[in-house]
């Protein structure tokens, strides 16, 4: 049995109140969504916030609405709701698929979209409280240790991977996130929400203290625009991704007019393989083209001792996605 450390708990009813509480705690407070990651983290004895600001009473953070060409999803909307919402299944199928593939039914009924995007890495050294780079220490134990599930792209100095399925789907969908903090509101592309360990070690995201992710904004699919998400895990269900992949494509028949690909669980951030995207653009999709795109997508990969299997796995996912989207 593991106990949670002591913390102050507040459950504000407005976003403004939540922001001022978070900002007033000068970095020692954290927002609590569904808690499936944060409470687990805190039970592990990892550096814990002294105050939790539960977002469960703030109605403005929940729900899915349409704004012209956009789908706006409140950050505290739970994944179970997103996975089955008709409007998401129609307008952003990759996101519905990713949400449905997260965790288990019990996880999805509490886990929020914002929490999924901002969850911490699953690295077993970090979670076991090793004094590693991300935990204030001076080395990444995964690089020379047990690294089956670690990064093959973008690693250095830390080899964590970002575990979020929804982040990969949203990156392929060209989503943006809205953020509100003591300094006001801002909006950023989902790709700019994440930072490589080379740029920042202690956190994976770019939110300032006191800022809350309020909404995720996804362009609704038009005719000829398709998206899809595939996740591979060790078990059939209820596990983190070994590799995931998402793709969004605007097609004219078999001609790819525009494409976004994103690989999950291969890099410390949702990984956009730019060379493969550039190659596919304005090209007729066929088996050969899909194989070349898959090759290019992993061209820069540098596997660690135990994770080279991720390269063919990720290539096959890219190939399947490209062919699958072209086939409809």
């Amino acid at each position: 049995m593991s106990f949670l450390p002591h913390f102050k708990l507040s459950r504000p009813e407005t976003l403004e109140e939540a922001i001022s509480t978070l900002a007033g705690a000068s970095g020692r407070a954290a927002a609590l969504g569904g808690g499936s990651d944060l409470l687990d983290w805190m039970k592990s004895g990892l550096p814990a916030p002294e105050q939790l600001v539960a977002l469960d009473r703030i109605k403005a953070l929940r729900g899915i609405r349409e704004e012209k060409r956009l789908l706006v999803i409140g950050a505290a909307t739970c994944l179970a709701e997103i996975a089955v919402a008709d409007v998401v299944i129609e307008a952003a199928p990759a996101l519905a698929q990713a949400a449905a593939d997260v965790g288990s039914p019990q996880i999805r009924s509490v886990a929020t979209l914002g929490g999924n995007l901002l969850q911490r890495p699953r690295c077993w050294y970090l979670r076991s409280n090793y004094p590693c780079l991300k935990n204030g220490g001076n080395r990444c134990y995964a690089i020379t240790g047990q690294n089956h599930y670690h990064a093959i792209l973008g690693a250095g100095p830390s080899a964590i991977v970002h575990p979020s399925d929804c982040a990969a789907a949203l990156s392929a969908l060209g989503a943006r996130v809205r953020v509100q903090g003591p300094g006001g509101r801002r909006e950023l592309a989902i790709d700019d929400l994440y930072q490589l360990p080379a740029d920042r070690l202690d956190l994976e995201h770019a939110l300032e203290p006191g800022e809350i992710l309020t909404d995720v904004v996804v362009p609704r699919a038009r005719r000829q625009e398709r998206s899809r998400f595939i996740k591979v895990r060790d078990r059939a269900l209820f596990d983190f991704a070994v590799v995931s992949a998402a793709a969004w494509m605007r097609l004219d028949g078999l001609l790819c007019k525009e494409v976004r690909l994103c690989l999950g669980a291969v890099a410390p951030v949702p990984w956009r393989p730019a060379a493969a995207e550039a190659y596919l653009t304005d090209r007729m999709i066929n088996e050969e083209v899909a194989i070349e795109a898959a090759r290019l997508a992993l061209d820069a990969a540098v596997p660690l001792e135990h994770n080279s299997y991720k390269i063919p796995l990720a290539r096959n996912l890219v190939r399947r996605l490209v062919l699958g989207l072209a086939a409809g």
């Binding site: 949670l4 708990l9 808690g35 409470l39 687990d40």
Partner: protein, 204 residues
């Protein structure tokens, strides 16, 4: 027979010893948990607040610390030890309870956040007369579990499934139960029981 007290058969004596041991054991289990919990909440910066929860159709006033999870409150404050703590990390499903009818991992829900909501644990599934619910009856009839530590979680989750989908396919049942793990690996028999329960629901 000489060693046993007079007037008591050897068999009865052994039964009583076993029963006594079981009571003593469960008592110490409950006490140990309570002790640890009390030690935790009696730390200087820990504050308990009296709140009223709705559990199994009853209003239950209870003193709850901020860092207390629902599983802790149910087991060690309310004595509802049917809810099991396996991993305590939202990974195994043994602690599954219904909150407003939806399965949740009670080990990963802060008790303060369920005020005003209806909590149903394994103890609240049978009707007040003691009649088991269809899943419980199917588990009894089908001898669904080996060690059964995970049984309360599975039964609660399966009950929620049949409430929204009384006629699931075996695959749908397996997906609905994917958040519950059985270390005996008894999944086939558990699924047999869920399918049997769905038959009971249809017939009633």
């Amino acid at each position: 027979m000489e060693d046993t007290p007079r007037g008591v058969s050897r068999r009865t004596f052994i039964k009583r010893v076993i029963a006594g041991g079981a009571v003593a054991y469960s008592g110490s289990y409950l006490f140990r948990g309570t002790g640890t919990l009390l030690a935790q909440v009696s730390a200087p910066d820990s504050v308990e607040r009296l709140i009223t929860l709705r559990v199994n159709g009853q209003r239950r006033p209870v003193d709850v610390a901020r860092q207390e999870t629902l599983a802790m409150t149910l087991r060690y404050k309310l004595g509802l030890t049917g809810t099991k703590l396996g991993c305590d990390r939202a990974e195994c499903g043994s602690c599954t309870v219904l909150i407003d009818g939806v399965p949740h991992y009670s080990c990963s829900v802060l008790t303060h956040t369920v005020r005003g909501r209806e909590v149903t644990s394994i103890e609240g599934l049978a009707d007040p007369s003691g009649k088991l619910n269809p899943v419980q009856q199917a588990v009894v009839d089908g001898a669904g579990f080996q060690c059964a530590f995970c049984a309360p979680g599975f039964i609660v989750t399966a009950t929620a499934l049949l409430n929204i989908n009384p006629n699931p396919t075996r695959r749908e049942a397996a997906e609905a139960l994917s958040g519950n793990l059985c270390r005996c690996g008894d999944y086939n028999k558990i699924l047999d029981c869920v399918m049997r329960a769905s038959e009971y629901v249809r017939r009633s």
